[in-house]
């Protein structure tokens, strides 16, 4: 009975708590108290997200199996980012603007969480705009310490505004063709609507979402944003924003299945996989050449997102399940790497990692687990998810897509190794002071637990992904 009650109110808590946390951050003084209150609310959000079960949600939203797997990932990752955010906001931003930064972080998180609940495209668009605008503003607050933050925020703003425009036009075209903005209505409309209009609508939706998710080559904003946009903004974008957009992208890709054997639909799926492959290869090459750990993450994130796109394009329960499964792993990797380097100063050149594992054992461990995850080393969650990705590509007999995933994995050995090698194999470094921040510790612990713990037993996560995949794969 308690479980059912918790399940019923959990969606409400998930949506309300971040807004309350944002309000608390703005209204409560001193900042330390506001931070503690907002962190408690963030923890409440994460806990509630674990209790969300399929069914109706407040404000006309809906919870399905996709929400059930996406929400805990977005909520837990966001929660630890918010707890760490108190310290990072103070360190990166204007002294008086720490409260605003924390509030913006919570609002952005709220946007991405809401997007996971969205039952139609207009609602999704509304939440997505809240999500990315919060991030842009958050990055801009870092201009006090680093002028490059303002440029990166402006670039993020322009790219995301264009992406949102594409989403809005896509949703309008979709409505024009089907009389609905609900993706599930596509099957009913497929016979009556003009296939080409729907295709154009879906293409715009996918391009918009891919740009928001940081898929290459639509990610011109990503490297500067991660590199100079502030540690909190980078963390939130990498572990929450990117995957919030990818969840929506999965839903749109799933709606394409409505076209069944239609040649256009198949061509579209191949195009989606092609974009994924380009993202994998471009992201991998750029990551190998990156000189800054945070910029490396932006490119590595593009490579990971590309793999997810390929899985979505293969379609069916297996493809979508593999994509959702990998999303959780990629989020954990990003938390690990970016969380690890977040104890460094605002910039994180690769040279700064020399001996980092000795100076900051916990952060070093999180970074190592994240890097191993990017490399898909055995016993990490990413290894299992990579397995499923290759399996889904082989099942669809898309050998080239499997090849792209394998090439991405091989390249990840290169850039993951670049992160890993200086950590323990080299001694010393520019700074010998121990880097330890209690507030960032939960982030490191979650990254390590997710990367390694789930690598040893991901059965529950895989089953959740399968249920989500079944919902998407069977979208008529």
């Amino acid at each position: 009975m308690i479980g059912a009650w918790l399940g019923a109110i959990a969606p409400m808590i998930v949506l309300a708590a971040p807004v309350c946390a944002a309000a608390a951050a703005m209204l409560i003084t001193p900042f330390r108290v506001a931070w503690i209150v907002s962190s408690a609310l963030a923890a409440l959000t994460a806990a509630a997200a674990l209790y969300v079960t399929p069914g109706p949600a407040p404000f006309g939203l809906a919870v399905d199996a996709v929400t059930v797997i996406a929400l805990p990932v977005l909520a837990v990752a966001g929660c630890v980012c918010m707890i760490a955010g108190g310290h990072l906001a103070r360190a990166d931003g204007e002294p008086g603007a720490a409260s605003a930064a924390l509030a913006l972080g919570h609002l952005s998180w709220f946007g991405w969480l809401g997007a996971a609940f969205a039952s139609d495209m207009i609602v999704a668009l509304a939440f997505v705009v809240i999500g990315w605008m919060g991030l842009s503003a958050l990055a801009a607050l870092g201009a006090h310490a680093n002028r490059a933050a303002l440029t990166s925020a402006l670039r993020h703003l322009v790219w995301c505004a264009l992406a949102s425009l594409a989403l809005a036009i896509g949703a309008a075209l979709f409505f024009n063709a089907t009389g609905s903005v609900d993706g599930a209505a596509l099957s009913l409309a497929a016979s009556s609507a003009t296939a080409r209009t729907l295709m154009l609508a879906c293409a715009l939706l996918l391009i918009g979402l891919a740009a928001l998710a940081g898929v290459a080559p639509l990610n011109g904003w990503a490297a500067p944003f991660y590199g100079a946009g502030g540690r909190m903004a980078g963390l939130l974008q990498a572990s929450v924003g990117a995957f919030g957009a990818l969840v929506l992208l999965g839903r749109v890709a799933a709606s394409l299945e409505a076209f069944g054997e239609d040649a256009l639909a198949r061509a579209f799926a191949v195009g989606l996989a092609g974009l994924g492959a380009i993202s994998v290869i471009t992201g991998s090459i750029q990551a190998i050449g990156a000189r800054d750990a945070r910029r490396l993450c932006a490119h590595a994130g593009a490579a990971q997102a590309g793999m997810i796109l390929i899985a979505f394009a293969t379609g069916g329960t297996g493809g979508f399940a593999a994509g959702l499964f990998h999303m959780a792993a990629a989020s954990a990797c990003m938390l690990g790497v970016l969380g690890g380097v977040s104890v460094l100063d605002a910039r994180a050149p690769m040279e700064g990692l020399v001996g980092f594992g000795r100076r900051a054992p916990l952060a070093g461990a999180a970074l190592a687990v994240g890097a191993l995850g990017l490399m898909a080393a055995p016993l990490t969650l990413s290894f299992l998810t990579r397995w499923r990705l290759i399996e889904s590509a082989l099942a669809a007999q898309w050998w080239w897509a499997a090849g792209a995933i394998i090439i991405g994995s091989l390249a990840a050995v290169g850039y993951g190794g670049r992160l890993l090698a200086p950590l323990y194999l080299s001694r010393g470094g520019e700074s010998d002071r121990p880097a330890w921040r209690v507030s960032i510790a939960p982030l490191h612990i979650v990254a390590i637990a997710a990367g390694i713990g789930l690598g040893l037993n991901a059965s529950a996560l895989w089953r959740a992904a399968e249920r989500g995949g079944a919902v998407l794969g069977m979208t008529p």
């Binding site: 080393a377 055995p378 299992l384 397995w387 290759i390 499997a402 994995s409 091989l410 040893l456 991901a458």
Partner: protein
């Protein structure tokens, strides 16, 4: 017992690392840990002979895919042989490092133990998933060993080692494993194989090629350079990488996947098997010829191991019971002989400072025990009867003749002659050559504790001959015999 065989080297690594600053404790832990692993591995052989196989399920990361270990004849026998040699080498390594006054012994011993643990994991793995995990662990654990020298050559060797082995395992072996899973719905090792016997010949051939080249630790060309370059590492690390862990694990991996994944489906992979057989046979000859031109003894032995691995892989690709038996016997005989040779080269280097083949003339007069051991090992390595190294050659030629692959048998014969050419004169010159007039680095010779494990290795190599028959009986069920 299975848990002990897997945990002993891990505990050894941890204890050595913890006692790094207390030399006598660190060295004791290293020797005791290696001995414990050998005893546990021997116990597993006894248990298997008594008809008591063991299984250990550690975790189940995904439904139907677990991290599990099992005792089956092929893995258990080879793991026991490697563990025994590992224990003798641990004793040798401790006194060699002391004699040399070498730095960072704890790191060397700890990573040697980790590599031994991962090799044991490859041998005892119950499925492809576990094998892959242990294999990747082995690659990572052995990298610091190759880098141990710390100079530019060692760094280059490490780079090649990691990129070749990790690249092949991720780029070739992992897709092969996932593809196998997609085809059979299973990754568990089973006698007779898990792939459907009526699998398409194209797919079977592609899968076999992915498996064999994916396991690049076997050093099959074109992925053999990592082993040749590993000669740049110090003696103690070289023995572990080239003789006791990485290289034998590669052949063992190929052997186990061929027997327990392909099984009957090997008939469908005939095209790939013949191509790989040709490459392996050619590699055996060319690597042996290459060894002939190498002056540095470690380099010569590295090419020798590539050559001997070629013989083992050729035997596996014959895909017949005599071939499988030959490959197992070859792996065991090779590990015994190569360990003895490598330890002998290290001992000579420690005593005389000589590492080049042309400087060995007459050294046997000053170091009779070392050269006696070296002679036994060299004769077995060459494949001269009655030593055990001869019998795998005989079996593989029989298997190849039965399969109408006489040309491959000829390659094996040429390879053996080339092996004779690069080893026999070396030993002969050492024994009968004129005693060197220039002084040795250590005119008083080396500690008896450095020679004792070497002589024990040579005795083990010589006495292996007497276990061939019981070994054949123990192994027969592995190919349904």
């Amino acid at each position: 017992m299975l848990m002990a065989a897997l945990a002993a080297p891990l505990a050894r690594a941890a204890l050595v690392a913890l006692s790094a600053r207390i030399a006598w404790l660190r060295d004791s832990m290293n020797i005791l840990g290696a001995a414990a692993q050998a005893i546990a591995a021997g116990g597993l052989v006894s248990a298997l002979v008594a008809g008591a196989p063991a299984r250990l399920d550690l975790a189940q990361p995904m439904p139907g895919i677990g991290i599990s270990f099992v005792t089956e004849p092929v893995g258990v026998v080879i793991a026991a042989a490697l563990a025994l040699m590992g224990a003798l080498n641990a004793v040798h390594a401790v006194f060699f490092q002391r004699l040399q006054g070498a730095q960072a012994s704890a790191r060397l011993f700890a990573f040697s133990a980790l590599a031994a643990a991962m090799t044991a994991g490859v041998a005892y793995s119950a499925n492809l998933f576990t094998l892959f995990i242990c294999y990747q662990g082995l690659i990572l654990a052995s990298a610091p060993l190759i880098a141990h020298g710390g100079d530019a050559a060692a760094r280059r060797a490490t780079r090649v080692h990691i990129t070749t082995l990790l690249g092949c395992s991720i780029g070739l072996l992992l897709p092969a494993i996932v593809w196998t899973y997609a085809l059979s719905g299973d990754v568990e090792f089973r006698v007779g194989g898990i792939l459907p016997a009526d699998i398409s010949p194209i797919i079977a051939s592609a899968l076999l090629a992915l498996n064999v080249f994916g396991l690049a630790a076997a050093a099959l060309p074109p992925f053999h350079r990592w082993l040749a370059l590993s000669a740049a590492t110090p003696h103690a690390a070289f023995i572990v990488v080239a003789v006791l862990t990485v290289a034998p694990a590669g052949v063992l991996g190929v052997l186990r996947t061929t027997l327990y994944v392909f099984g009957d489906a090997m008939a469908q992979a005939r095209v790939a098997a013949v191509v790989i057989l040709a490459i392996a046979g050619g590699a055996m000859c060319l690597a042996a010829l290459n060894a002939l031109g190498k002056s540095d003894l470690r380099e010569r032995l590295a090419y020798g191991v590539i050559s001997q691995n070629g013989a083992g892989l050729a035997a596996i690709m014959a895909a017949a019971p005599p071939g499988y038996f030959s490959a197992i016997l070859q792996t065991i005989a090779q590990s015994f002989a190569a360990t003895t040779l490598a330890m002998a080269f290290a001992t000579v280097a420690a005593a005389t400072g000589r590492t080049a083949a042309q400087d060995m003339a007459g050294v046997g007069r000053a170091m009779p025990w070392v050269f006696a051991a070296m002679t036994v090992a060299a004769l077995s390595f060459i494949g001269l009867p009655p030593l055990v190294g001869a019998w795998p050659r005989l079996w593989v030629v029989t298997a190849l003749a039965e399969e109408n692959l006489r040309w491959a048998g000829a390659l094996i014969a040429i390879g053996s002659i080339a092996t004779f050419a690069y080893l026999a004169p070396l030993v002969a010159r050492g024994l009968v050559g004129e005693a060197p007039s220039d002084p040795f680095v250590r005119p008083d010779g080396v500690d008896a504790r450095l020679i004792a494990p070497l002589v024990a290795c040579a005795l083990a190599t010589a006495s292996l001959l007497f276990v061939v028959d019981p070994l054949a009986r123990l192994l027969a069920p592995s190919w349904g015999g």
